[in-house]
Each structure stands twice: as structure tokens, then as C-alpha cells.
Amino acid sequence: MAEKAVLILGGTSDIARATALAFAKRDWTVRLAGRAPPELQREADDISARTGRTVTIHQFDVLATGSFAAFADALPGLPDVVISVVGLLGDQARAETDPDHASEIMRSNYEGPALILSLFAERFRARGAGAIVGISSVAGDRGRGSNYVYGSAKAGFTAFLSGLRNRLAASGVHVMTVKPGFVRTRMTEHMKLPPIITATPEEVGEAVLAGLSRHKDVIYVRPIWLLVMLIIRMIPEPVFKRLKL
């Protein structure tokens, strides 16, 4: 049997790196896609030196929706698993007054990831097998004043994945939503994050693999986030709107 292949979109991120290593260690072929080939090459070399597995790199821009079909056609084959790690935190304050920036955040977190995963979902459905993983965020569980442009885009992505899962439930295609909670990465390097609810990228990678093997629908990397978000969602809106969050 040929080696299984995982395609990771957003291959330069810390979460992608850890996830790719987790797959490669279990003898998967890894395909890394992203918009910065030299950085992708550095990650690919690292993963293949560490694990001895095959790692290929592929040029991909999540904003260039018109090129998605050609991108998928140019891959060495249809992968078994596709994971979208792509995301853009952006600058909330700027997004409040700069519609172009707001649109970039919305498109990078929702439109682009949703469309590319939907394209693979369709091909997986035709084949009758495959798994789709979307890295969304707890920020999409409730809009907050400090990051609602990002949060609303993640909310859209989460809803899209949920609908896709529902539609494909009987088709043999597994769709999994990942809500990592806080993760110590380049994105959050300058933030002070509470250690007990902050995961490492390696934990995210292992959680993705575990979730796939158990056919999970939605996973929170640290289970405590389920509780945190339950409480946050229960706060009545008249109270919530006055909180500094």
C-alpha cells in the first residue's frame, strides 16, 4: 500500500510544523503549502531530516481563490487528509476603520479556508474517502470587542465546517473542527497567556492525530476550554456587552 499523505495549508506556522512532525513520525508523507517558499523549504528540510520521510512543498495563497483548482490539480495526487492551519489575527483596532484590512482578516480566516476545504471535500466525496481538518478558534464561539473581526471570521469558518460535516456525514468523508484555545506560537509571542489554558503547538499536533483516529467532530485541544467557553457563552448579552474582554 502506498504511504498516506497529508496536505497542510499554512505550512510555515508553528502549529503546522508540529502537526506535520506528528504525522511524519508515523510514516506519513507530508505536503506543505504556503505563500513563502523559502520558509516552507526550511520546514520541509527539518521534517525530512528529523523523520526520514518525504516532504514536498507547494505554492499556495489562501486569498487567491481563483487558483485553487489549479493548485489541487498540480499536487502529486489527491491527499488522504487536508488540514487548513491558515489564519490571520490581524490588527483589530486597524480593522475597525480600515475596511481593506478587515476584509483581509475575514477572507484569510473564513472565505479562503472554507473554499479550499470545500474543493477537497468534493473530491474526497467523489473518491468516497478522506478527512478534512479546519483549525478554527474559540474566538469564533462569541464575538468580543477586542477581536471580533477575527472572531467573526472564525465563527463563519466553524459554521461552514459544521454544515459540511452534516452534508457529508454519510459519504465516508470525515470533517473535524479544531479549536486550539491559546497556543504559544509566533502569533501570540508577545501576549501574556495563562499557562494552564495555553497549549504547545506539539499538543495541537497530537490532538489532531488523536481526533482523526477517533473520528471526532469538534475538538478543544485542552478540554478545560470547553468549560471556559460554556461559561462565556452563558453570560447574558446585557451583561456581556459591558465586560472588558
Binding site: R42, E43, D45, D46, A49, R50, T51, G52, R186
Partner: protein
């Protein structure tokens, strides 16, 4: 400004901590260095990895570049940890030629301190297995140094304590091993002379180290357990071991809070020593098989064990003494330590082989390493030990040092003219300066 220290948590110093994410950013930081020095994983005990004004952290530079299975050579960025190398390559039958007592050090730190392992007497230091280096100079240049190209720069950078620039990448030779197990034999030495004789008598054994009971006095002064080791071959494993031919270790537990300083007083150390000595003596003679990680890195399973020494921190005193004067000087030092009743948690004696020059520590002879919690008369006591080291023609290991005097340093590292020439050429305006270099006038 960020307050940082070495592994001994003394001294704690304010520095501008720079954490570049890419090679290009390190090159720029080195070129724009303002009394800066590179820092690996901070396992040097004292002030070697702290810049006078700036400290450039290399730990983001932790990608492997290439591995050649046929030659066993691996090219890695300088912030890759030895523990990563072992996790990646031991399962494929390769192990670093030289490993120190912890695996949580970077390849850059291993080169910069030319670290030695339990095999230095026969196989030399980490620097011997460096094929090429990519080095960022304060001039903004990036130079590839090997034994063919820029050999003087390679030579000065091995053991150069970060003072010749920032190591970006290195190609190193790994050792082929059939298994990840070590065949260990323990011998008991009832005094110092016996310990030295045991190390001398087992020169041909790959790994050897003596663990000295520092509290033993009189006729037992220097009583030791000698641990000898060889990489085990496949046919020396039993079935169960063979099924787990390359055992790897789980991530460490960590010591979460500072222990009170009295946790390591005289009595706790005496009890520890007594137990250890008996347990070792019982196993003596026959060979046992142990996985490589606990054999080489017994303390790594404990995580931040440096916190055991409490908030005040500790220092390590590690000297090397030329063979011909070693026994007398060691007896004098150990006698004083026993009389002081000082609680040296670890006392390790190793035999070292050929020197490699520059600031590199090893020289043919014996090296003794002792840990001391900071307190009482400690620094004046260590000055006394230094006098003995200098008189015997020895020197102190810079990667462990936080307090030696310039006189002790100058006596121990007498021939630095070549090293200083290289420094003058690559860093004419003095952009690189660690606290150690400032303290010792390097």
C-alpha cells in the same frame, strides 16, 4: 530589559534579550551588536551566555537542514538541542560522538564550549566532530569555516565561548550505534589513588567517570564509584531489550518551585552519598545494560533541578589538572572540602585527553567538578581551591565559571595570542562582549 542568569542562577543580570526567528535576523543582530553575545539553552552555569548589554537567543534557530545516512553527517541550525538530535537519530542507529551530562544544550553551545563527555580521554571533545560551521561575524559577513576554509576561525570558534560571532549552522559527524543501550560496569575505589588508578587502567574503555563521595575523610578520602560504559551491540541484548532496541526518554518532570536552601544541607547530602555508595557497591563488578539517556543524562529526568538549590543559586567549580600533579592537588582539594563539610552535591572526576587550543577547556589530565550552594564563606573558599589549581598548572572551565579572578584565568589560559588575533580581525570595534569576557578581560 530582562533579568537572566546561567544554570546556577547566579549572577542574575539585566540584559536586552533579543530573540530572532530567522538566520537573516541573527546575522543583522550580530552586525548591530552592542556588547552582545549569543546564548543557547542557558546551561552554562555562570555568566558566559549573558551579554554585557545585549543577549541574542539562538533557540528559535532550531531546524535541521539535512541528514546523510551514508556518511552519518547531519547539518543543523545552531539552536537544535542534543536531545532533539538523539530523538531523531538514535532510532536510526546514530548517536552524537560527544555528549555532556545534560542533553538539553544546543549544538551552538556544544561547539562554543567544546563540551567534553565521558569519552574525552580517547575521543576528544565536541569540536572534533564538527565538519563545517556557518558563522555570522560582527562585520555582517557570513563565513563557512571548515578544516579547509578559514581553519583559524573554525579553531577559534570551537571552545570560543561565543566570542567569535554567532554560529548559525553546523555539520557534525554522528557515531553509528547498533543499539541505544549502554553496557555499564561499576567499580569501587576505596580512596583517591585507587580511583585514579581505575581511570588510568581503563583507558581503552570508551566511557569512564568517577563519582566521588566528598564527605569521606582520612584513609577513605576520595572513595569513589567508577562507572565504565560501552555502546552495547545487538547480540548483547536479551529479547525484551532487543524489542526496545532504541529506548527513548519521556519528557522531564520539573521541580516547580524553589526549594528552601536548607533542603541540601550537610545531612541530606551525607545520606544521599551513603545510599548511593552502597547501591553502587552492590552492583559492582558485573555488567548491566542501561538505556543511553539515564546513563548519560541522569539529571535530565528532573527538569529544573537547579531550583533544588534555592533562590540564592549555586556555582560549579570545575578544574582540570595536568596528570603529573593531579593526585596531590586533588587530595589537597578534597581534604579541604571534607574539612569544610561543604555540601557539594555532585563531585565528578573524569580523565581528559588532548587539548584543542584557544579557550577550549580540556587538557591531558583529570577534571574535578563540584557544585556548591551559595552561602557562608563560599567565594573565599573557592579562591583557596583556585590557588591549588594554578599551582598545579591547571585551569577552570569557563562554561561553569561565575567568579574566578583574572589572575587565575590568565595563569590557566596562558597562550591566547592566536585567539586574540582572530578576535581583533573579526571584531575590531568590540561588538561582542559577554559578562564573562568583560570580567576576565578576554
Amino acid at each position: 530589559m530582562t533579568a537572566i542568569s546561567g544554570w546556577g542562577r547566579y549572577p542574575i543580570i539585566d540584559t536586552e534579550l533579543i530573540g530572532p526567528r530567522t538566520t537573516e535576523a541573527i546575522v543583522r543582530a550580530t552586525e548591530q551588536g552592542d556588547q552582545a553575545v549569543a546564548r543557547g539553552n542557558g546551561r552554562a552555569y555562570g555568566d558566559a551566555a549573558v551579554g554585557v548589554r545585549q543577549t541574542i537567543t539562538m533557540t528559535h534557530l532550531n531546524r535541521m537542514r539535512a541528514f546523510d545516512h551514508a556518511t552519518g553527517q547531519v547539518t543543523v541550525e545552531a539552536g537544535v538541542l542534543l536531545s532533539d538530535l538523539i530523538a531523531a537519530f538514535l532510532p536510526r542507529g546514530f548517536f552524537p560522538y560527544v555528549v555532556p551530562g545534560t542533553s538539553f544544550i544546543t549544538v551552538g553551545g556544544a561547539i562554543a564550549a567544546d563540551v567534553h563527555g565521558k569519552n574525552h580521554h580517547g575521543e576528544g571533545g565536541f569540536g572534533r566532530y564538527v565538519e563545517t560551521l556557518l558563522l555570522a561575524l560582527p562585520t555582517g559577513e557570513v563565513v563557512r569555516a571548515s578544516r579547509k576554509d578559514h581553519p583559524d576561525l573554525l579553531q577559534a570558534t570551537i571552545g570560543g565561548m561565543g566570542l567569535t560571532g554567532s554560529i548559525l549552522e553546523a555539520t557534525i559527524q554522528l557515531r553509528r550505534v547498533e543499539t541505544g543501550w549502554i553496557r555499564q560496569r561499576t567499580m569501587v575505589a576505596n580512596n583517591l589513588a585507587a580511583a585514579i588508578a581505575a581511570l588510568d587502567g581503563n583507558e581503552s574503555v570508551t566511557y569512564s567517570v568517577a563519582w566521588i563521595d566528598c564527605l569521606a575523610k582520612g584513609a577513605s578520602l576520595g572513595r569513589s564509584l567508577i562507572f565504565l560504559g560501552e555502546h552495547a551491540a545487538s547480540n548483547q541484548l536479551d529479547e525484551r531489550q532487543f524489542a526496545n532496541r532504541f529506548p527513548l526518554r519521556k519528557p522531564p518532570l520539573s521541580v516547580p518551585i524553589d526549594m528552601p536552601s536548607f533542603a541540601l544541607n550537610h545531612w541530606s547530602v551525607a545520606a544521599f552519598n551513603e545510599l548511593y555508595f552502597r547501591a553502587g557497591a552492590r552492583k559492582a563488578g558485573s555488567s548491566i545494560l542501561v538505556p543511553a539517556a539515564p546513563y548519560f543524562f541522569p539529571l535530565d529526568a528532573l527538569g529544573n533541578w537547579n531550583r533544588i538549590y534555592g533562590r540564592r543559586g549555586f556555582v560549579q567549580h570545575q578544574c582540570v589538572l595536568p596528570a603529573k600533579n593531579a593526585e596531590a592537588a586533588l587530595a589537597d582539594m578534597l581534604g579541604r572540602i571534607a574539612r569544610r563539610g561543604g555540601s557539594s552535591f555532585l563531585a565528578v572526576l573524569k580523565k581528559l585527553g588532548e587539548a584543542s587550543g584557544g579557550l577550549s577547556f580540556p587538557m591531558p589530565g583529570y577534571t574535578l567538578a563540584l557544585d556548591f550552594p551559595i552561602g557562608r564563606d563560599l567565594f573565599s573558599f573557592l579562591d583557596e581551591l583556585d590557588v591549588l589549581v594554578v599551582k598545579a598548572g591547571g585551569r577552570l572551565y569557563l562554561a561553569k565559571d561565575a567568579r574566578q579572578s583574572r589572575a587565575t584565568f590568565d595563569a590557566g589560559y596562558a597562550d591566547l595570542s592566536g585567539f586574540r588575533d582572530v578576535r581583533r580581525t573579526i571584531d575590531p570595534t568590540g561588538k561582542i562582549k559577554s559578562r564573562l569576557a568583560a570580567r576576565l578581560g578576554i
